[in-house]
């Protein structure tokens, strides 16, 4: 327990150290504050943007898109991934399509999505959903395939129907891999949503950064990047918490 608390403090050392170094170099005149905004100025910009309500608005828009896209992408991905893990024929049927679409950079599909769904929320939510779908699908399937066969035999020996095997064996057994997929997917979702907002949008963190570029507001660009980093970190913490809640049966992590 003591070691764990120590770890938490240690985790703060490297980011804080980096910020201090940055600020120091800026004050010493080694970094030109006009091009590379020092942390203290970024902080002031963050306060101003928060007061005007601009920052909360753009963050809110991006977060909503990520959450909606996450649900839209991960729920069918888990269902289909379990089915592919359980059934050889479903796997044989769908694997070629999955293997073909999976490696396409999802942001490259974005222009097409805008063409079909317009520049509004639907296209943003869809690109997030699409970017995590295959990751979660493949991880879920691998999770089922990697499970000890004994668990399935236990279910069958007691006369379990397919639906029982699905809900009582495959789903809980694949949960660890499903969370691996969700965590990987979260990273991709952040990349893709900010990218999509840069390309074509009228709100969101990506839009904020792009607009600041157009008016040379370098401090706001840095502020946007910092907020993105914090969002990613918060997302990881949330998923870790969910993971522990969903699987109280796992051995305590060391």
């Amino acid at each position: 327990m003591k070691a764990r608390i120590a770890d938490r403090w240690l985790a703060l050392v490297s980011p804080l150290g980096l910020l201090l170094l940055w600020e120091g170099l800026s004050r010493a005149g080694l970094l030109d504050a006009r091009f590379i905004t020092p942390p203290s100025a970024i902080g002031r910009t963050l306060v101003v943007l928060t007061r005007t309500g601009e920052l909360p608005y753009h963050v809110g828009v991006s977060v909503e898109r990520i959450i909606a896209g996450f649900l839209l992408g991960s729920i069918p991905a888990v269902a289909l991934g379990l089915a592919m893990g359980l059934s050889r024929s479903v796997r044989a049927l769908l694997m070629p399509i999955v293997a073909a679409i999976y490696p396409i950079p999802k942001i490259a599909i974005y222009p097409l999505i805008i063409f079909y769904l317009g520049i509004g929320e639907a296209s943003k939510v869809s690109i997030v959903a699409l970017s995590i779908f295959f990751l979660v699908l493949l991880n879920t399937m691998a999770g089922v395939l990697g499970m000890d066969r004994t668990y399935f035999n236990i279910a069958r020996a007691y006369g379990a129907r397919s639906i029982d095997v699905f809900t009582t064996i495959a789903w809980p057994g694949a949960l660890p891999s499903i969370f691996t997929g969700l965590k990987l997917g979260m990273g991709f979702a952040m990349i893709v949503i900010v990218g999509a907002e840069l390309l074509g949008s009228d709100a969101g963190i990506g839009f904020l950064i792009w607009r600041s570029y157009q008016i040379f507001a370098i401090d706001v660009m840095f502020a946007g990047l910092l907020v993105t980093a914090v969002l990613g970190w918060l997302a990881t913490i949330t998923l870790d918490w969910l993971e522990r809640r969903a699987m109280p049966w796992r051995t305590e992590h060391k």
Binding site: N153, I154, Y158
Partner: protein, 268 residues
């Protein structure tokens, strides 16, 4: 071919296996795992099955549990009553479901059999009590010792009130001391309602201690080479039977039967 073979009403059933063969489809044509296996277990009898590693013991149990289909031959299956399982199998090794509490693990068989929630919890508790784990109802398997997990597996099988209990080397992963404790417990529980038991093991001592009769299986493809009755009374006191001259004679005889098969299994 499966046929019903229990005495109506009593819920007791024996095992009747005739001419059973199983071949797996290998890369170079079918490879036989079981060859013409024939034996019977009377209702209420405790029979041990020993044989060299890889001789098809697990395959045989999986056929009896209905997990796989035989290639040829017939097996009698007890009739299924509502809320009861015909044959329950206690699996080898770590076979508790890690994502369920101890109570849910024990109730699992009843759950997939469609027994209502309240009744299955009650029955699960009763059987947890039988193996002395009532206090650990809400624990998860990772919090238990290997011996406790194996008790959970036994309780899960017993909770379905099967006519026949099949056990696949249930104590193989335990240390010697816990193995002795669990053997004691198993016999005590068995003594209460005398279910028909087919117990697969690779331990000669275990076979003699527990069973009324020992079936010896050949190296692969497995068939029953001989059967040896165990002339020791019940209830059994392990301290006493160790000193019984019959124990040593029996052990020597079984090893005589098994030795050739083990050598043959190692050669192939």
């Amino acid at each position: 071919m499966l046929r019903a073979a229990d005495q109506v009403g009593t819920g007791l059933a024996g095992i009747d296996v005739a001419g059973l063969s199983k071949a797996y489809q290998g890369r170079h044509g079918p490879s036989p795992a079981l060859q013409d296996v024939t034996f019977t277990v009377r209702a209420g009898e405790f029979v041990a099955l020993i044989g060299p590693s890889g001789c098809g013991k697990t395959t045989l149990l999986h056929i009896l549990a209905g997990l796989i289909e035989p290639t040829a031959g017939s097996v009698s299956m007890p009739r299924r009553h509502p809320g009861r399982l015909g044959t329950a199998l206690v699996f080898q090794g770590a076979s508790t479901l890690p994502w369920m509490t101890v109570l849910d693990n024990v109730a699992y068989g009843l759950r997939v059999m469609g027994v209502p929630a309240r009744e299955r919890r009650e029955r699960a508790r009763q059987h947890l009590g039988q193996v002395g784990l009532l206090a650990s109802s809400d624990a998860y398997p990772y919090q238990l010792s290997e011996g406790m997990r194996q008790r959970v597996n036994i309780a899960r099988a017993l909770a379905t009130d099967p006519a026949i209990l099949l056990m696949d080397e249930p104590f193989a992963d335990l240390d010697e001391q816990n193995r002795l404790l669990l053997q004691d417990e198993l016999l005590r529980i068995w003594q209460e309602d005398r279910k028909t038991v087919l117990f697969v093991t690779h331990s000669l001592d275990e076979a003699i201690r527990l069973s009324d009769r020992v079936l010896v299986m050949s190296a692969s493809p497995g068939h029953i080479t001989t059967e040896v009755p165990v002339p020791l009374g019940r209830p059994r006191d392990f301290q006493k039977i160790r000193q019984d001259p019959a124990y040593g004679a029996l052990s020597a005889r079984l090893w005589g039967e098994l030795r050739e098969e083990v050598l043959r299994a190692n050669r192939s």
